[in-house]
């Protein structure tokens, strides 16, 4: 009894320390963003940010990149993870290892590799947004794969597939009507994480010279004082909204798990 109480006191202490570490800079940023007009708190910095046409433009571009990345990575990851579960379970650790590469290889290294490889003939892709989308897909792989993978582990993939097959269904029907709908929660958490990552990403867009929200924040950060803080707070809000949506779609469906958690 005493032991557990002491443990819980320590747990709370560390939890509070962690939260302070996390929240103090955020609160400070927010507080600073409100001080654009001397002597009082206003949302003037936010008004300025919203009235800058480049804000909306870069935000719009990031939305577009995020959407394309989500579509591409869904089409890549869901069938791959499904096939690995169904037919190649032994390969799973390797696939998982590959999807973790973005944690090991820095984005800068990855993008320079892509530029070197596709910057000159025979295949020049640097003038198209393909490299950007592919790069973002790689960045989001660890999250997308794990979300889908844990979703697949929560259902009996093989038996459901065989049941559908015995009823006459071909692969498109099985994927579209049986597997995708039952992975809804897993796929959606992957989608929102991908969205959050792409919305705030800087390196890829900057080095490939495509307009995006990340480079925009960086650019105005070097020119102005208050607006960048406001935009940063907005960027955080987008991320939190995504995480909130993950929690929301995952609620109540006890059989399915979210994000990268193991069961």
């Amino acid at each position: 009894m005493k032991e557990t109480r002491r443990a819980s006191v320590w747990a709370w202490l560390w939890f509070i320390l962690g939260m302070l570490y996390f929240f103090i800079p955020l609160v400070a940023t927010f507080e600073f963003s409100l001080r654009m007009l001397k002597g009082r708190y206003t949302f003037e910095a936010y008004r300025v940010a919203f009235t800058d046409p480049r804000f909306l433009q870069s935000f719009g571009y990031s939305l577009l990149w995020a959407t394309l990345t989500i579509i591409f990575s869904m089409l890549l990851v869901v069938p791959t993870a499904y096939w690995v579960h169904l037919r190649l379970p032994k390969v799973r650790p390797w696939v998982e290892f590959v999807t973790l590469m973005p944690f090991v290889v820095p984005a800068v290294v990855l993008i320079f590799g892509l530029i070197r490889l596709y910057g000159h003939p025979p295949l020049v892709l640097t003038s198209t947004p393909i490299l950007l989308i592919v790069g973002y897909t790689v960045l989001s792989l660890p999250y997308m794969f794990r979300s889908v993978d844990s979703g697949l582990r929560a259902i009996d993939v093989r038996t459901l597939t065989e049941a559908a097959q015995s009823l006459g269904a071909g692969w498109p029907t099985i994927l579209g009507q049986v597997i995708f709908p039952n992975l809804r929660v897993g796929i959606l958490s992957g989608v929102f994480l991908t969205f959050a990552i792409v919305m705030g990403e800087f390196t890829f867009a900057a080095l490939l010279s495509w307009p995006a929200f990340g480079p925009y924040i960086e650019e105005i950060g070097s020119m102005r004082a208050y607006t960048p803080q406001a935009v940063s707070v907005l960027s955080f809000a987008v991320t939190w909204l995504s995480i909130g949506l993950i929690q929301w779609v995952g609620r109540g469906s006890g059989a399915q798990t979210q994000v990268a958690g193991t069961r």
Partner: protein, 352 residues
């Protein structure tokens, strides 16, 4: 020509053969069970029929057509799985109608067929429920309806009752047989439960280590097992190691107590043989014209309709079943006892 012909099927997964030269002809509307312990190859055989595995050797003929290498979604067979495998994202009605929807049948036809199927499984009002709202037994009924909705040529069931409670299992067993006979559908049923196989089937195939041990009606399998494996796997069997006294007259001795058998005895005088007896063939007390052995009561288990008595006979113990009656006086543990059995009940096997 048989309706479903499994001709010399063999399959291995890299090790010893999972199925070895499986050869069986199934008639239309027949109910055949594959019975055996886990790893005997019964599920692999069923999966080859379903198309989920391709045999290394042999052919599968359905109504005269070779379907050995046909993909599973073109075979038009209904399959029921141990794990129910209902689609969690669909209602009961959508599950049952899935095969028809895939076949692009008109909507009103699907609705009608789904209703008919839900009536067949006696769940007419539960069409808009989701699988997670149903009990295991109900889910398996729905799975059965789903498999039958497409009017399959053959119904395949892979241990469909193994995940259910004992009571539901017996109920659903009766239902499966009723529906099978009502629709006169050719059925292949895989189970490790001998009671299921015996009670459901027209014919039982007992399998062990990839090959067929015996094929026969339930009573043939139980009363006239061909091999020691079948004898010991199906039902309870008492085994006594005896000495041969007289080959010609079928005389054997156990612990110096001589008795007779009608079964042919192989071996010379003084050889050791094993005598096998079903528990229900043995009685308590001495009956004229029957063999007698004496021993001591070790345990009495009251099972309702029968009472199972374990009797120590020197080195060996045997169990015997008494039909329960109100007038039955239960033997007491530790009592000396005489057990008797008719000579024709013995089955004799030479020692290997």
């Amino acid at each position: 020509m048989a309706y479903l012909q499994l001709a010399h099927l063999s399959k291995s997964f890299g090790g010893p053969a999972a199925v070895d030269d499986f050869d069986l002809a199934i008639e239309k509307a027949e109910f055949v069970s594959l019975l055996g312990p886990s790893g005997c190859g019964k599920t692999t055989t069923l999966r080859m029929v379903a198309g989920f595995e391709v045999p290394d050797q042999g052919r599968i003929l359905l109504d005269g057509n070779d379907i050995t290498e046909m993909p599973p979604n073109q075979r038009h067979l209904g399959m029921v799985f141990q794990a129910y495998a209902l689609f969690p994202n669909m209602t009961v009605a959508d599950n049952v109608g899935f095969g028809l929807k895939v076949a692009k049948r008109p909507k009103d036809q699907i609705t009608k067929r789904v209703e008919e199927m839900l009536g067949l499984i006696k769940m007419p009002k539960l069409g808009d429920r989701y699988p997670y709202q149903l009990s295991g037994g109900q889910q398996q009924r729905v799975a059965l309806a789903r498999a039958l909705a497409i009017s399959p040529q053959v119904l395949l069931l892979d241990e469909p009752l193994s995940a259910l409670d004992a009571k539901i299992r017996v109920e659903l067993r009766v239902e499966i047989r009723r529906i099978q006979q009502e629709l006169r559908i050719t059925t292949l049923y895989v189970t490790h439960d001998q009671e299921e196989a015996l009670s459901l089937s027209d014919r039982v195939v007992v399998m062990s280590a990839g090959h067929m041990e015996q094929v026969g009606s339930p009573s043939e399998i139980y009363n006239f097992p061909n091999t020691p494996f079948v004898a010991s796997f199906v039902g309870t069997l008492n085994q006594l190691r005896c000495k041969v006294v007289d080959v010609g007259q079928g005389k054997l001795s156990y612990n110096d107590q001589v008795f007779e058998t009608r079964a042919p005895v192989r071996g010379a005088q003084g050889d050791t043989v094993t005598v096998m007896l079903r528990p229900e063939q043995m009685h308590i007390g001495s009956l004229s014209d029957e063999n007698q052995l004496t021993g001591k009561v070790e345990m009495v288990t009251f099972l309702g309709s029968i009472v199972r008595v374990r009797v120590g006979l020197g080195q060996a113990t045997v169990v015997l079943d008494l039909l329960n009656k109100r007038s039955l006086e239960l033997p007491r543990v530790g009592e000396p006892i005489t057990v008797s059995f008719p000579p024709h009940a013995c089955w004799v096997m030479a020692e290997a």
